[in-house]
């Protein structure tokens, strides 16, 4: 259906609840203004109104983040903070760090926005010293928060259903429920199924010619189930979470000129269980304890005729993680915390010469915070210990390292706040880096990152702005390099980053019938390779890193509907280390629109209709070269809740 037609259908005049209160401070502005480190935030209201439906789509609105996206619903999607690389990012789901010990990056594509209450991204440290030690290990943390269910009046039960249909044979259906069987215990759960043919058309430029093709083998089907229990105990609170993700997808691979025979498929079965307790500790302290279990099973097949027998590989990763943090406030202006994370990872596979490695990881952190009405000073030291084992082969040597961080913010007056931070972090080598047959290198050291940030926040009423400049260094980069006959992982590479992030936020009601929220951000990042002064790429911008990127979100609240617009704009990049015109990738801007409207039936029944038009300029831009993104596409969603 044409987008304008949808707009007309949805323009029926039914009163709409006003959710954009004029001139009120938002959590986003408060977080940014007082923060000692740069913070990006999206609350429930923004998430509901954005055209984005998945976590990766939502994060693309932040210019300080770069989302690697191989295109289509099934394409791998990872987040990189200030272009450090996805392995440096820490993804936190409801206080529990997610990880992937095999390749070090978590696929964002599987996380929809349906259950998410807010997204918070902290860069170069954390304001909150009451966090897990592991959360301090990266260059920043992307935290996904799920709120306990809210019940209207005296109800103890609620349910909902969702049906979404989109271009390229995409269909998503889901059921959700919430209940409160006991006054202090509640639960929420959801079950959704997504399927998409993913066979979108694309055009690709080849010299003076333009070729029109259809993306093949880009289908996906995925089942996602979640159950959460929230309990209030006599002393503290408990959260239990269980998720199950089961998917099957084709891997279309890169577009190869003059031929297209994709032959790869991937299956995932992921189980995630977690329990998190938060409550008082002795000596008037606070404690948070968590335990989690993650099982990731992947099967990869490749029926390429070059293989005499098709590849049929499986990988099973298991992770048991325990985390504890104690927070004390000996004085009103001073607090400190002690945090410990113990993580055990294991990998097994049927690929030849896999040594089935085990890893024992320990993160220990001591943090202290001085907080006055105008000054906030935070210092942390993180100790990382890694011990590897294997019964089937030689394991890497143990590793131990320290990563300090320091941050401060100072409120100059009611309108201006200054912040500065410096942080060191380590990116530990993954199982693939260390042990992948032939290319793995057991002698790898961690990749080292050093971040320095200086920022200024300004806030006045319903408008706020921030500017941060940063200088970062990455040493001992873990990269694949050609060796005598095969490629091997090595610690070679030094990257220097110099840049700035600018953000502007405004929220208000310019007209009585119009509520408006605007978020605009821009990032500049000069990230250059300083590895070898004699190399042809010395001083060149590193691959896939734009100098300029920007994001914008506009949300209009009209009497009859909500309208939102989002923009993700990325400047020119190079797909290769040497910045020659042959490897230059064109800038792109992805504009998306969404319109939604809610109807109420009776006291409890609500029907929400929304229509999204994504990438409305209809350009098959590429984030990864020769992995074209879908051009203009549409999505219609019906959500019924009771």
């Amino acid at each position: 259906m044409h987008f304008l037609a949808l707009l007309a259908v949805l323009s029926l005049n039914v009163p709409q609840q006003d959710t954009l209160a004029a001139a009120r401070s938002t959590a986003a502005r408060e977080l940014s203004f007082n923060s000692a480190v740069p913070v990006l935030y999206m609350g429930k209201e923004q998430l509901q109104n954005t055209p984005a439906q998945s976590l990766s789509e939502a994060l693309r609105g932040f210019s300080a983040l770069s989302i690697k996206d191989y295109g289509g619903l099934g394409g791998l999607k990872t987040v990189s903070i200030r272009n450090f690389g996805a392995q440096h990012s820490c993804l936190v789901l409801d206080g529990i760090c997610l990880s992937d010990a095999m390749n070090g990056q978590v696929d964002l594509g599987r996380y929809s926005l349906d259950d998410i209450a807010s997204i918070k991204v902290e860069i170069a440290g954390s304001n909150d010293i009451f966090c897990s030690a592991r959360q301090l290990s990266g260059v920043g943390a992307v935290s996904i928060n799920v709120a306990p269910p809210v019940f209207e009046e005296n109800r103890n039960f609620g349910a909902g259903a969702l049906l979404s249909a989109g271009s390229f044979g995409t269909l998503k259906s889901g059921l959700e429920f919430k209940c409160r069987p006991f006054p202090k215990w509640s639960a929420s759960g959801s079950l959704s199924y997504l399927s998409s043919e993913g066979n979108y058309p694309f055009s690709i430029r080849n010299g003076t010619q333009t070729q029109e093709q259809l993306r093949l083998n880009s289908d996906i089907s995925a089942l996602n189930a979640q159950l959460r229990v929230f309990g209030t105990l006599p002393r503290g609170s408990l959260r239990l979470c269980g998720t199950w993700y089961d998917s099957s997808r084709g891997l279309p691979g890169s577009v190869i000129l003059y031929t297209q025979h994709p032959s790869e498929r991937l299956w995932d079965k992921d189980l995630f269980l977690s329990a998190l307790y938060e409550g008082p500790a002795r000596l008037n302290g606070q404690m948070r304890l968590s335990a989690s279990w993650t099982s990731k099973w992947n099967r990869y097949t490749n029926s390429d005729p070059r293989y005499a027998t098709p590849l049929d590989d499986y990988y099973l990763q298991n992770e048991a993680a325990f985390s504890g943090v104690l927070l004390y406030h000996p004085w009103s202006i001073f607090s400190f915390s002690i945090a410990e994370d113990i993580i055990c990872n294991a990998l097994e596979s049927n690929i030849p010469n896999c040594i089935w490695p085990w890893r024992l990881l320990s993160y220990s952190a001591v943090s202290a915070k001085l907080q006055t009405s105008s000054l906030s000073l935070t210092a942390s030291v993180l100790a990382s210990l890694m011990y590897e084992m294997s019964d089937r082969g030689e394991a890497a040597d143990p590793f131990a390292g320290l990563s300090p961080s320091l941050s401060l913010s100072y409120a100059i007056n009611d309108n201006f706040s200054l912040r500065a931070s410096s942080k060191q972090s380590l990116r530990l080598p993954t199982f693939n880096d260390l042990y992948y047959p032939r290319t793995g290198n057991r002698d790898l050291a961690p990749e080292r990152a050093w971040q320095n940030n200086l920022g200024l926040s300004w806030s006045a009423g319903n408008i706020g702005a921030s500017a941060d400049v940063f200088y970062n260094l990455v040493k001992d980069k873990i990269v694949a390099v050609p060796t005598m006959f095969i490629w091997s992982m090595r610690n070679v590479g030094k990257v220097q980053m110099l840049g700035c992030d600018l953000a502007l936020h405004w929220q208000g009601r310019p007209l009585e019938w119009l509520g408006l929220r605007a978020d605009i951000n821009y990032s500049f990042n000069r990230a250059v390779d300083l590895t070898d002064p004699s190399a042809k790429n010395y001083g060149h911008q590193i691959a896939y890193t734009p100098r300029h990127s920007a994001g914008a979100g506009l949300q209009f609240e009209l009497p009859f509907c909500r309208l939102s617009y989002s923009l993700s704009a990325v400047g020119e990049r190079y797909s290769l280390a040497q910045n020659t015109p042959a490897y230059r990738m064109d800038p792109y801007a992805d504009h998306s629109l969404s319109i939604s409207r809610e109807f109420s039936f009776g006291r409890f029944c609500r029907l929400q209709l929304s229509a999204d038009a994504l990438n409305i300029t209809n350009i098959n831009y590429e984030i990864i070269q020769y992995y074209p993104m879908p051009a203009r596409n549409y999505r219609l969603t019906i959500k019924l809740s009771y």
């Binding site: 000129l257 031929t259 025979h261 005598m484 042809k536 020659t580 020769y626």
Partner: protein, 343 residues
């Protein structure tokens, strides 16, 4: 005397310099999946580089992974492994024909080319040898071993190196012997693991087999196969990475070693192919990061391609005595093969 010519700033779509009929034709392999193979011509007269001559002539790029090229009469054959086709171009690099091979509806991926018996032979990685009639461009196929790479013609037979490269770690270790008349495999020869390149002496007495081993406990090796005696012997070289036949039955070898920064460096050796005897080192230079070796069978000029896989490669040109004459930036990634052009 060294010359450095850099045309890397020229956009792909811009018309390059007119390619010189006297010069060096370089096939850049490109990156896997990058569709960035390219052809350039270095003029030995005015020391300029005409980049992307294929694209300039045809308005489109050659595609993915330029694996090999040979000149047959007035035609240039280019094997595109990733794009799964063979271009037949005229002297102006304009495509005259595109040859695609199929077996059971599976499109095949060409690897190495050979001209012999007035025919063009090509190995296909899916396990086939192709024979192309240069007059009609018609092709026939015969099955050989797994993942064939290099090939040579000697004593009336085509020899094909079956690497089994896609079967890692269970690499192949055979040569297929193909009768070119019947066009079918008649026998096989067991050699070291993972054979990848073959050369034969002019008398058809010896075949030299370069194998890469299993990248673990089986080492790379150069072996000599005595066709008449059907015996195999090891040649005294370590870590041979490439070989190419020059004039007068001189076999040129590039052996790899690591430099102080763990980059792969290449040093050159000569071997008397007719007598199966080492002739010692060729020149005093080491080439870092080493990538490829080509030799002009007429003049004896040697071309060493250097590449780090992330920046434009360099081609070093050596005279028949092993002295570097000059080098140039080849305006593309991974210089795979160099051919000297004669008018």
């Amino acid at each position: 005397m060294l010359f450095l010519v850099c045309s890397c700033q020229a956009p792909r779509t811009e018309s390059p310099l007119e390619p010189s009929p006297y010069g060096l034709l370089v096939l850049n392999n490109g990156n896997w999946g990058g569709n960035d193979a390219s052809l350039c011509v270095y003029s030995t007269e005015d020391k300029t580089l005409a980049a992307n001559v294929f694209e300039a002539a045809n308005g489109r790029r050659p595609g993915d992974l330029g694996q090999d090229m040979i000149i047959v009469g007035d035609e240039l054959y280019i094997a595109m492994n990733g794009s799964q086709l063979i271009y037949v171009c005229d002297r102006n690099y304009t495509v005259k024909d595109e040859l695609r091979a199929y077996s059971n509806d599976i499109q095949l991926s060409p690897r190495c080319l050979l001209y012999a018996r007035n025919r063009v032979y090509v190995t296909y990685y899916e396990g086939y040898l192709g024979e192309i009639d240069p007059d009609t461009h018609k092709m026939r196929l015969c099955a050989v071993g797994a993942n064939p790479e290099g090939l040579c013609y000697a004593a009336g037979k085509i020899y094909v190196a079956n690497s089994g490269g896609a079967l890692s770690p269970d690499f192949n270790n055979t040569l297929s012997v193909v009768d070119p008349v019947e066009f079918k495999q008649v026998s096989s020869i067991e050699v070291n693991t993972n054979p990848v390149a073959l050369c034969a002496d002019s008398a058809g007495k010896w075949i030299y087999i370069l194998s890469y081993g299993n990248y673990s406990n089986i080492r790379p090796m150069l072996q000599a196969y005595d066709i008449a005696a059907a015996t195999l012997s090891d040649c005294p070289y370590n870590d041979v990475k490439s070989l190419a036949m020059g004039p007068d039955d001189v076999l040129y070898l590039a052996c790899g070693f690591y430099d102080d920064l763990w980059q792969v460096s290449g040093s050159l050796y000569c071997h008397d192919a007719s007598a199966n005897k080492p002739l010692g080192t060729f020149g005093a230079e080491n080439f870092t990061p080493y990538y490829s070796l080509s030799v002009d069978a007429s003049s004896g000029e040697v071309y060493v391609g250097c590449s780090d896989y992330k920046t434009n490669g360099d081609v070093y040109v050596l005279d028949s005595e092993g002295k570097i004459l000059y080098f140039f930036d080849c305006a593309g990634l991974n210089p795979q093969k160099v051919l000297k052009l004669y008018d």
